[in-house]
Symmetry: C2
């Protein structure tokens, strides 16, 4: 895959890593970064993640053959719809958001002719933010989910898959709904749980935390506004996952209350089997 | 601190690391490893974590100037009491268990004259097991809690502190109760929570887990029997921590149910502040 002009909207950790990977791998001739924060854009340019930095979204997106929106999930729809009408014929627009149903539903039937949108979510990143944490190998060997609906153009889907593969990622196609319900369990619920654990830690216990507590709560350092938007988008699936989790936790509590160590050990053994299967 | 003969009962990750650190730092003239598993003992000897390996606990402990019991928390009391009577005059016994109240209470008033026990818990280690994961620097810069009660001999307490400091650790003195109630929040509850998260993950979601899920559930790979024993020892404090956690989680659920994004973001912001304060 060879893109003439790649525009990245939002050059933080993910957007910056896309730029670095695209340039390192010769995926794009020219990379334009766009965003509202000129200091962050300038850092991305200095780091070589983008060739040009523009504060005006439309100017940046209208030059693109491929544009990737790496902005908070509650901003993607308005940004795509706000810039789509001036796009080049054949332009492919995609995103990197952690939720897919509201984004894809909000965009795909409202695009002008000749402009395609396919939802994407690279399962990479961390609790860190900003282009200074960008990494050209962030997507290497990771999975990117791309979404297909009845409206999705097959050629655009294939180009989107090719784009992420060119950055080093594997791809998997799912419906936006299936994505959101699965990610509720694998990402959004763990974030809530980590935050709740951190929230009940009294100050005097801070020095007594070791790697176990730090690993278990690491994601809670993520940006609160970004995560609130994710929970807003995926509210029903997250609530359903949370209720399931609360029931499981109540099961653990009952074994402790009853001193039923056999059942507790069985629960821990099943958890170990699951965790061992995931690798490091 | 210079120990003539150091005996380590249980040469897994922790016991093996004590042996490596003691030899590397010249803390002990001779290190004896004792345990029931001859293959594991032999690996520890081959790795240089112990000089001699003995399957007979009493023979090993009776030669010790200092003996450290690095066995599951539900075995420490019987092992200490079963070997204490033949110990050298002035022998110092300690342990490395994740719970302290039941261990210290079970031992300290039942020792023969001239033999002292002080409870210890190095906040180091991981979900891995076995001497092949031992690390001479495991305690470097970490915290070891040592316990003091009305019965604790001040000289023995000082020697125990000096021992862990000689291995590179900081030390902090607490009552066994304070240790157990704090560790319920910083270690035991996070383990339960991680296990419950892993327990509800359906097989088809395994490939969609990324670093967030893996960090949050890492400790769930710990040994189920060891952890069941820990929960057995610290049942009341863990139950109390669990109820507090369940209430906090219900608070998160209510914000989602009500669509109260301001309150949710406040909860997430407080969690981020706590997590940021802990560092990596």
């Amino acid at each position: 895959m060879r893109i003439q002009t790649l525009t990245i909207v939002g050059v933080g950790l993910i957007g910056g890593s896309i730029g670095l990977a695209a340039k390192r791998r010769g995926v794009a001739e020219r990379v334009i970064g766009a965003g509202r924060n000129s200091a962050s854009l300038e850092r991305a340019r200095a780091l070589g993640a983008v060739d040009e930095a523009l504060l005006d979204l439309s100017t940046a997106v209208h030059q693109a053959d491929v544009a990737v929106f790496c902005t908070p999930v509650d901003r993607v729809v308005e940004q795509v719809l706000g810039t789509a009408s001036g796009c080049k014929a054949g332009a492919l627009l995609t995103d990197a958001g952690s939720t897919k149903e509201q984004i894809v539903r909000g965009i795909e039937t409202r695009l002008p002719r000749g402009v395609a949108f396919v939802g994407s979510h690279p399962l990479a990143g961390s609790e860190k933010r900003g282009p200074e944490h960008a990494d050209a190998d962030l997507f290497q060997g990771r999975l990117t989910i791309i979404t297909r609906t009845a409206q999705t153009d097959p050629t655009a889907l294939e180009r989107t898959a090719g784009f992420w593969q060119a950055l080093g990622s594997h791809v998997r196609i799912m419906s936006p709904q299936e994505h959101d319900w699965t990610l509720a369990l694998t990402s959004h619920l763990p974030h809530l749980v980590a935050a709740a654990l951190a929230d009940i830690l009294p100050t005097e216990a801070y020095p007594l935390t070791a790697t176990g507590f730090r690993d278990t709560t690491r994601v809670a350092a993520g940006d609160p506004a970004l995560w609130t938007a994710i929970f807003g988008h995926n509210r029903h699936a997250v609530l359903s996952a949370l209720v399931r989790f609360e029931e499981k936790l109540a099961g653990f509590r009952k074994t402790l209350e009853a001193g039923d160590w056999t059942s507790l050990q069985n629960l821990l053994s099943h958890a170990k089997k699951v965790r061992d299967a995931l690798g490091n």
